[in-house]
Amino acid sequence: MSRSAVLAALVAVACTKPQAPGTTPTSNSSSPPPSGDLAARLERLEEFNKKHAEAIEFLQRVYDQQKQAADDQDANEPDPAAIFAVDITKPVAAGQAEGPTNALVTIVEAWDFG
């Protein structure tokens, strides 16, 4: 969740209707209790958000880094479902092939003498 989304959620909580007299508060244990005027509540919420902002930013950075690494890996990894059409006309014509020419399976090998 982005920092702005957290802030928006907290502001939304701050703007909810005050608890009716005589009813039991149902506040979340991690949220500040909804008491005082709107300005005071907003101030508390901002403090709450500020307190957790560093942690949220840290999580966001870790997420971004890991997503980038995964994207890079996928971008360099051949599609396992793809059929790669390697042109073997020239090596075959040059006699650099083995096996029958009517084989149903063709294995193209990239090889090095080193």
Partner: protein
């Protein structure tokens, strides 16, 4: 296909492979290279065993005309032949060995023999079911329906499954 990863040591060995192909003895050359040149190199850690002089010593033993092998091996035509393979493989981002395309499916690096057999069997079943004769299968089903350049795992569009 030629994928020269160590050009300083084996560029000429690859070009001599092209030259052997011109004599219709590429497989004999390849086997001879591993058995003679590479084994000697491995035992003595002597790079010269991978070079032309060493190759020309054992070449006649596998039925190669050494004079012709040297002339063709050092020709621009064989140099170009090796480069053509590397350019073609480069389109598919092959940068190391071993690498395999089994009816177009890419396998990078070594895999267990059993897994290799399994892929071949799968591809054989697909090919048999297609009804396309072997003589035209690669051209029609792989070249005709496959992708002609590297396609990453990330890319959404997929070609027709083989």
């Amino acid at each position: 296909m030629n994928m020269v990863v160590h050009p300083q040591q084996v560029q000429m060995a690859h070009q001599y492979g092209c030259a052997a192909g011109k004599q219709g003895k590429f497989i004999e050359y390849k086997d001879g290279f591993w058995k003679n040149s590479y084994e000697e190199y491995k035992n003595k850690r002597d790079m010269s065993q991978l070079g032309p002089e060493a190759i020309l010593k054992w070449a006649p033993q596998v039925g190669l005309d050494a004079t012709k092998l040297k002339a063709d091996g050092e020709s621009d035509a064989c140099k170009q032949r090796v480069e053509e393979d590397m350019q073609e493989l480069g389109k598919f981002h092959v940068g190391g060995t071993p690498g395999f395309f089994i009816n177009g499916k890419f396998i990078g690096g070594g895999i267990p023999e059993q897994a290799f057999h399994q892929i071949i069997d799968e591809k054989l079943k697909i090919a048999e079911a297609s009804g396309v004769p072997g003589s035209s299968y690669y051209e029609k089903e792989i070249m005709g329906k496959g992708v002609h350049e590297f396609q990453s795992k990330k890319r959404a569009e997929r070609p027709t499954q083989q």
